[in-house]
Every structure is written in C-alpha cells, then in structure tokens.
Amino acid sequence: MRLRPGERFQRVIGSPIAMYVVLGLVLVALVIAAQVKGLSGNLLFSLFVRGVLLGGTLALGAVGVTLVFAVLKMANFAHGDLMTLGAYLGLIVVALLPKGAPLAPFSFGYEFLVAFLLVVPLVGLVAFGLDRVAFRPLRARRAQPIMFAMAALGLAFGIRSLVYIFWGADFTFYYSGRARPAVELFAGVRVRPDQLFILGLAVVLIVGVYLLLERTKIGKAMRATADNPDLARVSGIDTGRVILWTWLIGGGLAAAGGMLYGLDVQLRPEMGWWLLLPLFASVILGTIGNAYGAMAGAFVIGIVWQMSSAFINPAYGHGIAFLVMVLVLLVRPEGLFGKRR
C-alpha cells in the first residue's frame, strides 16, 4: 500500500523493533561515553549489576502499579508512599523485637525477616482498607479518573505526613551503625551480600506473582477483569474479590519493595515519592497494565539509572528515569508490549 512519507516514518518509529533499537542505542551511548571518559569496563559492569539489583526492587513496586492500572483503571499515585509505609512499619517491628546477631554474611538479623513476613500482608490489607475508604465511593459514583488520582494524591501526602510526624524528616537505617561490607562477586564486581539476598527475594516474589496470575483461579479472574471488566462481571467473576486481591498483591509487593529498598539504601520519608517516577517509567515502558512488561521495564530503568551515574551527578538518578519515560512517550507511548491503536 502507498504510504505518505510521514506515515512511513511514523510506522517505523512506532514499531517495537525501533524501541529496542533505541534502548540498545542508549546502552551503546553509555558505553561509548565511558570510553571517552576513560572509565573502566569493570566499573560499567558493576554498575550494570547494581542496576539489575535495583531493577528487582523497582519491579516489586511496578507490578502493583500496573495491576491496579489494569484492574481498576486508575493511576495510583499513592503507590510509592505505600512502599514508604511498608519500609517504616518494618522499622517498627525491627525496633520492637529483641536484637539478634546478624545472619552472616548478611547485615540483618532474624528481626528483619519477621518484620518482612508481618508487614507485607499488613500493607496489603492497609491498601485494601484505603481503597474502601477512598476509591470505592468514587467508583460507586462513577467519578472521573482525575478524582481517583486526586484521592490517591491525598493518600500519598497523608501517609507521608504521618511518616514525618512519627519519624521526622531525617533518613535512617534498619540497623544503624552496622557495617555492610561488600564482597567481590566475580571479575572485580563488588556487591554486598544483602543485595544478593534482595535480588533473590525479589525474583522469588516475581515468580510467585507469575504463578499466581497464570495458575490460580483468582489470577485468571484478575486477568479477565483487566481485559474486559463488563464481560468479566457478566461471566460470573466476583469483582469484589478481584479488587481485594489486586490490593493485597499490589500493597504487599509495595511493602516488600519498600523494605528491600530501605535495607539496600536507607529509609527516608520521601523515598516512595521519589520512587514513583521510576515506577511509572517502568510501567509505561513495559506497557500499562502488563505485569510482565512492568517487570521488564523495571530492570531496564534500574540499569539505565545506575549506569548513568558513571557520567552525571548520581543525584539526577530518578531524573534519568524520567527522561527515559519521556523518550518512550515520544517514540512509542503504548510501551514495549502494547498494540498500536
């Protein structure tokens, strides 16, 4: 078929291949920039590994964002602050339990694991409770999408002010003052054992989500609801249960992501707000509503974020995530796995 030049350009630019090419070019550009700056391949490779580690944590948050998008058709701007909430609730549990010795080679003791097991379901329930209070009434009156976003924003700032009230504005750690030495993994790549634990746990959780979505009845119901809510309802799917599970999973994973991020980096009241940008960048990159896409997106964002820190002030890390997102929006707004309209 005959195409006008503009149309042909648009088709090429909008194809998934183009997207991979762009991402590839970003990587190549990073490597070339490293050559120019005379950075060692070794450094780059360790940054790459660190990016993968970070991607694991981001993936936990991004899955929740994209599930809520898919099932409830709303952008949950409170998701980052659910991560903060999880991290700080974990801090309470860790502080309350009697201190045990670190589980060598890790820096944390059994308290952290107990906290994790308690907080993850708890935040899932909190997320569901917040849905009851804030979002369900809006759904009931068929409010505009923007009202949902405003409510989410209200929750986000509400959660954050509570964190400020109880813990103050300073950063903190689960185990203040405990040394966290890095070990050499291979070929001069140094990571902390904690980070390997974090990645391992993140992968376990991601596999868990995969099994849940693919193998269980509720997972199938969630996917059906995401595809076509009306059809799902008339074919006898219990929407209420789907919503409950969406929040349990989304909130739980957010808490997990928050605690792991807190363990890896530090806890700050703003951490969730700052993570919101990389989370949404991952979700958009991996196509809104696509859980596996969000995970893939999270790893890409994590890697680009970390590797960029070799060249520019690391303070701009989440700014980089934002730039990647803008690039995606320009080239292929429906993301890697989306269908063109």
Partner: protein, 398 residues
C-alpha cells in the same frame, strides 16, 4: 489620623478596592471603581486605626501570601478547571518563575561576595521585566513538557508533570553555578521598596511625601498593593479569555473531546494553549513569591507546598470558577495559617507526648490538609463555588 495611618490605609485599600469592585456588577465602570475605591479605603482606614499594629501586619502578610497563592490557583484553574489537564507538577512552574525573576532582577555578585553567591547571570532589570520573564520561561517549560504528553491519556501528563517538578527541583538543588545550588539565592530586590524607605526617584515628590512616614518594616503594605494589582489583572484577563469562544472550546474539549475534534477544533493545540497559559500564570505567581521572600532555594518548591496545597485550594474553592480559585486560596491559606496557631498552642501537649513532636508541627498541619483533600474529593467534589453554567459572552447581549 496620623500620616502613617493614612499611608498604610491607601496601600491596604488597594486589595480591598479590587475585591469590592469584582463583587459589584453595575455600569458604568468608572462609577463602580469610584464606589469601590471609596469603600476600600474606608474599610482600610477603619482597619488601620482599630486593629493593633501586630495583628494588622499579620493580616497584611496574610492577604499578601493568599493573593500569591491566588495567582497560582488561577493558573491551575485554567489547566484543570477549564480544560481538565492534570498537572501535579505546579512546583516546577512556580520554581522556574521564582528563579527566573530572581536571576533577571538581581545583579551578579562580584569580588568577595561572588564566592558566597554563585549565579549564572544577573541582569539587574526592573521587577516587571522579571515578572514577564518568569511567565515566559514557565510557558516555554510547559510547551516542552506538553509536546510529548498532551496528546496522550491524562495519566501520562500527570506523571510527566511530577517528573518535571522533581527534575527542576534537582537542578536548582545541585547546580551551584546556576542559582547558588543548595544555598539560598539571596538579595532578590523588593519592588518599590523605596516607597517604604527613602522615597522613589521615579515618583513625583508629593507621592513620596505622602508615603514618607512608612519605614522599611511597613514594606508588606506596599507589596500587598502590588500583588493585589497583579492578581486582579490576571483575574480580569482570564475572565475575558474564558468567557469567550476560547473558553468555550476548552470546555468542549474537556467534556467531549471527540466531538470537539469532529467539529473542527484542534484539540491538541487548545490543550497546549491552556497548559501554557496556565503555566505562564504560575510562573508569574512564582516571581511574586520570590520578590516577597527575598531569598529562595529549592526547598521552597517541595511538592507539598508547591503543588499539593494549590490543588487543595482550587478543589475547595471550586474548579472551573475563577472566583472560586481565589476564594479557595484565601480559605486554605487561612486554614493553613490557623492550624499553625493551633499547633503552637498544643506545643506543651505535644512535647509531653514526645520531645520530637513540637518541631514536627508543620507535618501535622499537612496531615490535616491531606484529610481535607480527601474530604473534598469524596464529599464536595464541586468545591464551594460551582462552575458557571454559561461561559459565552451572552450576559452582555441578553
């Protein structure tokens, strides 16, 4: 009636005049303004004579800050209220406006001072140039961010604006050469401060004589008049633009985009215009803020102060209604300042609960504001003043 009372009353009379005149609707306009000037100055006189000095200057700065927020809220109203554009990055345009005006109006320090305050440039131009430049830069930023996102669904714009706000803040936090990095950019000139000082060379002698009793401490009286004038001009310009085919198209786009497009309206272009116009106004608001606080740094443009508070103002006052936007700014600023009193009163109680708590007072206030936001969204989504039904100019034609 001492000269100082008279001078203060005239200045404080300006916001009151403009307030009264925007409530009156009769014609001719000159008569309306005559009446409202008289009323404004009279009320101001009564206030200045009857109210103790401390409370009076508190009230003045209250009106001043609320009016600045009124400008920001009007900017958001163009974007959200009339067009349904979801900008959660007001702080970006607020900050760009503030820093631009600061750089345009200050003089770049030299010699010894240069090691304390670094800035990319300092043009030393007048205040009004600063205002225009602030609006211009905010508009350019809006255009840049709107280009890739406005044609997409609403959520994308929302997240992109969050992103741009963070990025702007990061830049002003980390780039020392640009606007003194994490340190405050100081010495932003206060317009017409000579009026509350040694007299202004550009004013005729009798005016200077009239205001001569004012001391630099009375400067908020001068600035409140300036801010009120800017707010009024912005309000009038917006009212005209909104009650016109332009406003009609914005509303049509918001309500049924497909239909507007099918009837020949370039939806993307109108969204862009609205986004840019709103951002320009926010930039002007930022400039007004910078010239009031004199020293600014990135911390002033936190998402809580720079974005969220303004959303609460507009939602509470009534989106889609310019008076509502201003009313909301005053009410929410009132709540915000009022809770500060309450938290101060509760200081001993808070200290008894935990020694850390009193210093975290602002966060308690923010928690309350968040609850207010949820309350509005859930129970009063229309705000205090509802959107007006008809936006076309037909009241003049009836």
């Amino acid at each position: 009636m001492t000269p100082v009372v008279l001078a203060k009353s005239v200045l404080l009379g300006v916001p009151l005049w403009l307030f009264v005149s925007s409530l009156l609707t009769f014609k001719p306009a000159w008569l309306k303004h005559l009446v409202s000037i008289a009323a404004g100055v009279a009320v101001a006189l009564a206030m200045v004579t009857l109210i103790p000095t401390g409370i009076l200057s508190y009230m003045t700065t209250f009106i001043l800050m609320a009016s600045i927020y009124g400008v920001l809220s009007l900017g958001l109203n163009v974007q959200w209220g009339y067009t349904g554009l979801f900008n959660i990055g007001i702080a970006a345009f607020f900050a760009i406006g503030a820093f631009t005006s600061a750089l345009v109006t200050t003089v770049k320090p030299t010699g010894f001072n240069a090691s304390f305050t670094q800035q990319a440039f300092g043009l030393g131009l007048p205040f009004w140039v600063g205002l225009l430049a602030a609006g211009l830069m905010a508009g350019v930023l809006a255009w840049l961010i709107g280009k890739p996102t406005l044609r997409l669904r609403d959520d994308y714009l929302a997240i992109a604006t969050i992103g741009i706000a963070e990025l702007v803040r990061l830049v002003f936090q980390n780039e020392r050469w640009l606007a003194n990095g994490p340190q405050p950019l100081r010495g932003i000139p206060q317009p017409a401060s000579c009026l509350a000082g040694n007299g202004c060379s550009w004013l005729p002698g009798f005016v200077n004589d009239f205001f001569a009793p004012l001391t630099p401490r009375d400067y908020p009286f001068v600035y409140v008049a300036i801010v009120a004038l800017v707010l009024y001009v912005v309000y009038r310009v917006l009212e005209r633009a909104i009650r016109s085919p332009w406003g009609r198209v914005l509303r049509a786009v918001r309500e049924e985009e497909a239909s507007a497009a099918m009837n020949g309206k370039d939806v993307a272009a109108f969204r862009m215009q609205s986004f840019v116009v709103g951002a320009v106004i926010m930039g002007i608001g930022g400039a007004l803020y910078a010239h009031y606080v004199v020293a600014i740094d990135y911390g002033h443009f936190d998402p809580l102060y720079g974005t969220f508070l303004i959303w609460v103002m507009l939602m509470l006052g009534g989106s889609g209604n310019n008076r509502g936007a201003i009313l909301g700014a005053f009410v929410v600023w009132g709540i915000w300042s009022g809770t500060s009193f309450v938290v101060d009163l509760l200081r001993p109680t808070l200290a008894a609960i935990s020694p850390d708590l009193p210093s975290r007072g602002p966060y308690i206030r923010f928690f309350l504001i968040s609850l207010l936001m949820l309350f509005i969204v859930l129970y009063r989504p229309m705000g205090i003043l509802r959107e007006e039904k008809v936006v076309s100019l037909d009241r003049d034609l009836a």
